[in-house]
C-alpha cells in the first residue's frame, strides 16, 4: 500500500493496476447491494437481452476506483470525497481490467486531490471514466 504525504504529490503522478472480474466478485456484490436484477444474475436472461453473458454491476467495477485511491494514489492516508463516473461499455466475468488514474488538481488549503481515472478492458476499450476527489489525512 502506498503512503504518499502531501509534499510527495504532484499533478501528473499516476498509478495503475489490473484486476480480473470473477463470478465470486459478482455474487459478493449482489449480496452486499441486494441488486438481484437478472441482467447481472441470469446468463440466459442476459443473452436474451443481447449481451454475450451476464453484465457486471457498474458499481462493482466502480469499486476499483476505491482501491485506486485507498491503496495506490494517494494510498493509506486517503479519504474519498466523491466520484463522478460515466459508464461507456459493459464489463463481463473474466474481463481483465486495467484501472488507472492521474493526479490532475491539487488543493493545498484543504489537501484535496483530484484524479482523472479510467478502467479499460483487455481490448483496451474504456469501460468507464471517472473524476475522483479525495482528501489526504495527516495521520
Amino acid at each position: 500500500m502506498n503512503d504518499y504525504r502531501w509534499n510527495d504529490l504532484a499533478t501528473g503522478m499516476a498509478a495503475q493496476f489490473e484486476v480480473e472480474l470473477s463470478a465470486e466478485m459478482m455474487s459478493g456484490f449482489a449480496t452486499i447491494s441486494g441488486d438481484v436484477n437478472p441482467l447481472h444474475a441470469d446468463e440466459e436472461f442476459a443473452k436474451a437481452a443481447g449481451f454475450p453473458s451476464r453484465v457486471a454491476f457498474g458499481l462493482l467495477t466502480t469499486s476499483f476506483y476505491s482501491r485506486l485511491v485507498g491503496v495506490y494514489l494517494p494510498g493509506k492516508r486517503a479519504l474519498l470525497h466523491g466520484i463522478d463516473v460515466e459508464f461507456r461499455l459493459p464489463a463481463y466475468i473474466g474481463d481483465r481490467l486495467s484501472v488507472s488514474g492521474e493526479v490532475v488538481f491539487l488543493n493545498e488549503a484543504y489537501r484535496r486531490l483530484e484524479l482523472k481515472a479510467r478502467i479499460r478492458n483487455q481490448a483496451g476499450n474504456v469501460i468507464s471514466k471517472a473524476s475522483i476527489q479525495a482528501g489526504l489525512r495527516e495521520s
Binding site: H81, G82, N107, E108, A109, Y110, G135
Partner: protein
Amino acid sequence: MDNALIIRDLEPIFADILDQSDLRLAPESSASNVEGWDSLAHINLIVAIEKRYRIKFALGELQDLKNLGEMVILIQRKTRS
C-alpha cells in the same frame, strides 16, 4: 471585475455545488445562512473557485473569512497579482 460581478459570476458555481438552482448570493452570504454549505461543500466551493479564477488559496487565508463578501475581496486581490 467588481464585487457585484464576481458574486454574480459565483452564483452558478454555488448553485451547482449546493444543489440550489435558484440560489441568490450576497456579500453577507455564509455557511451559517446558506443551506447546504457544510464542510465538504466548502471544500468543493474553494476548489471550484480556484479553478474558475486560476488562483490558489492558502489555508490561513481562508480560515478568517466571515462571509462571501470577504471571499470576493480575496479573489479580487489574487486575480490582480
